[in-house]
């Protein structure tokens, strides 16, 4: 992520030089935000673990340790080295290695987060740009739709939709694509508002008029001329939304309406933890800690980006 801000090729002309200058000053300001840099490190680590989960995980995340597991979760090695039987963070209530499940859970959480946000950004940017650029009844219609979506709390609506899909799907498990689709399809109104607001002012600027005067069509003006100037707030919003979506997904999975077991997700690993709270605190603690650390990292990155991209935005 951070690499994108570094200069990629040597500057040539004057214009290029200005461009480079703007880019590197963003990077400079971002680098000064220490917590955001720490966030980048943590997130990079998480992504690394998620990508190489197969190679890194000490055990298969879905197999039960039938040799050592005897009905209760095995303790982590730092608590009880004699009983942990090689499971660094212990096992869950049915004897699966906790660390391996956490690693594979990172895959699910991060992928759901990024893909749902991509979808949300595409829909939201498109509709927001159209609403802001054309105004009039198109704007009115789109904004009323966002009003409706924003006045219904997201979580109950998500729960209802996933429950309906789950109740009626022929397969026993709810696909992860469905979760992404539903979250993405419901969370775009915030982005649409944001994009609309910047387009409302951008379309009045002189270069927009110039672009129109030399005969560009609307599509080209919107996506080539205006959108690049509205991109800063979108990036910030997208980053913060990845954090929100990760929490949403884990909440859904925790409640049993998200990613279905045996596939490990940080949320559904906690689903049965409540009943084992008395004997195995580690089952309840580590998945949540992973969510907290990841989300915290992303939020700090978002904060750093906001400071770096536009100092007047906060």
């Amino acid at each position: 992520m951070a690499v994108g801000f570094a200069p990629e090729y040597p500057p040539t002309g004057v214009e290029e030089d200005d461009f480079q200058f703007a880019k590197s000053s963003v990077w400079k300001r971002f680098r000064r935000h220490r917590l955001a840099m720490a966030g980048v490190l943590v997130l990079a680590l998480m992504v690394f673990v998620a990508v190489f989960a197969k190679q890194l995980a000490p055990y298969n995340p879905d197999t039960i340790d039938q040799v050592h597991w005897q009905g209760n979760p095995l303790p982590p090695c730092f608590l009880n080295a004699a009983q942990c039987a090689g499971h660094l963070l212990g096992t869950d209530e049915v004897g699966r290695d906790l660390l391996s499940r956490l690693m594979f859970g990172a895959r699910i959480s991060l992928t759901v987060g990024v893909s749902a946000v991509l979808m949300e950004i595409i829909i939201g940017t498109f509709l927001g740009a159209i609403a802001g650029y054309y105004g009039g009844w198109i704007d009115y219609a789109i904004m009323r739709i966002t009003d409706v979506f924003l006045s219904i709390p997201l979580l109950p609506l998500l729960l209802v939709l996933t429950a309906i899909v789950a109740a009626n799907s022929s397969k026993a498990s709810l696909g992860f694509g469905v979760i992404v689709l539903i979250i993405g399809a419901l969370s775009w109104p915030g982005v649409a508002r944001l994009v609309r607001a910047s387009f409302l002012s951008l379309r009045e600027l002189e270069y927009a008029e110039a672009a129109r005067a030399i005969g560009n069509n609307d599509g080209r003006i919107i996506f080539r001329h205006l959108l690049p100037n509205a991109v800063a707030p979108i990036i910030v919003q997208a980053t913060l939304d990845v954090a929100n979506v990760i929490i949403l997904e884990s909440t859904l999975s925790f409640l049993g309406f998200g990613i279905q077991p045996p596939t490990a997700s940080w949320g559904n690993m906690l689903a049965n933890a409540e009943s084992n709270l008395q004997i195995a605190w580690w089952v309840a603690t580590f998945p949540g800690l992973c969510i907290l650390v990841t989300v915290l990292a992303i939020n700090y990155i978002g904060d750093g980006l906001r400071d770096a991209l536009d100092p007047n935005m906060r």
């Binding site: 409706v148 219904i152 109950p156 009626n168 605190w281 309840a284 915290l296």
Partner: protein, 307 residues
């Protein structure tokens, strides 16, 4: 408008409102067809919507199949518990959140400010349900030992075992769910309060107020707070949906006998009438409180005029 969209989504789900019966081996396809006809489900969707909205306007939200009682009665019975929980955490979060925000705005970039800001970041990066689990682990399962040999062991279930109307007992049961539900809001309010107060502190009228010789407290709380609260009101209204979502999770985990848990239980049983009723009520509440926020806005800020 909202209700129409919800109605279409819920009723067009394959399986539809009769889904619970479809799995029952004692009910034949002929029975299903008869039920469909009796309940008017063979009519087109717009007709059913008009019938439904007509009933709702007369105060009849249908019959809950999972609770075997009218939807309105089921919801109203559990409404007070939910309002109690949401109200308590709302008050807690707005009071503590604003106080923390003001405190860190008065001394920006001090140690306390960093502490509060960091805390706020943790607060809104924390999944509500996990925080609930951790609180249960800390207080309900193990108990936190205090230096005097006491242990704080808080009950985590919402329904009390002894006298229900004993105030102390109720409060005791309210503590954990309230704190859990309040955390996210608290974090948000403290951050918004901080930036809003910082804005206000820079203004000329604040300088004038302190130049007049008013003492620090009067300046901050009388002149500053009222102006700093204006943006907070908007944030409060915008945050209500997330409070409702949090309430569902909190009620489910703490077995709080409120609407959220009712809704959650209805989910697994495709109780469409109840889900519809709940979502519509929630949407109505959100719109209603947005209206209140608008009024409060005008009251706090005389410059705002509504035509």
């Amino acid at each position: 408008m909202i209700s129409l969209i919800l109605f279409i989504i819920l009723n067009n789900a394959p399986g539809g409102p009769l889904a619970p019966y479809l799995q029952n081996p004692h009910i034949t396809p002929a029975d299903i067809a008869r039920l469909k006809h009796n309940l008017g489900l063979d009519k087109p969707i717009w007709y059913r919507y008009l019938v439904w909205i007509g009933h709702v306007l007369r105060g009849d939200m249908g019959y809950s199949t999972s609770n075997s009682e009218p939807v309105l009665q089921a919801i109203l019975q559990r409404l007070p518990a939910t309002l109690e929980l949401m109200g308590a955490s709302f008050v807690l979060s707005i009071v503590v959140g604003s106080a923390a925000g003001i405190f860190s705005a008065i001394r920006p970039y001090s140690f306390a400010d960093y502490f509060i800001t960091t805390f706020a970041f943790f607060g809104y990066s924390m999944p509500v349900f996990w925080f609930a689990l951790m609180m249960q682990l800390a207080f309900a399962v193990h108990g936190i030992p205090l230096p005097f040999g006491y242990q704080i062991q808080l009950p985590s279930a919402g329904i009390s075992t002894h006298d229900r109307f004993f105030l102390g007992d109720r409060l005791e049961h309210l503590i954990l769910p309230t704190v859990v539900l309040a955390l996210l809001q608290l974090a948000l309010y403290s951050r918004f309060m901080r930036s809003s107060m910082l804005e206000v502190l820079k203004t000329d009228y604040m300088r004038t107020a302190s130049a007049k010789g008013l003492d620090f407290k009067t300046v901050i709380f009388k002149h500053g707070l009222k102006n700093a609260l204006i943006p907070i009101v908007t944030v409060t209204a915008l945050n209500l949906p997330s409070l409702v979502g949090g309430a569902i999770v909190t009620e489910t985990i703490f077995a709080w006998p409120g609407m959220g848990r009712l809704f959650f239980n209805a989910l697994g049983q495709s109780d469409i009438a109840l889900l519809m009723g709940y979502l519509c009520l929630i949407a109505f509440l959100v719109v209603f409180f947005n209206l209140i926020a608008d009024v409060a806005y005008a009251w706090l800020d005389p410059r705002v005029k509504y035509d």
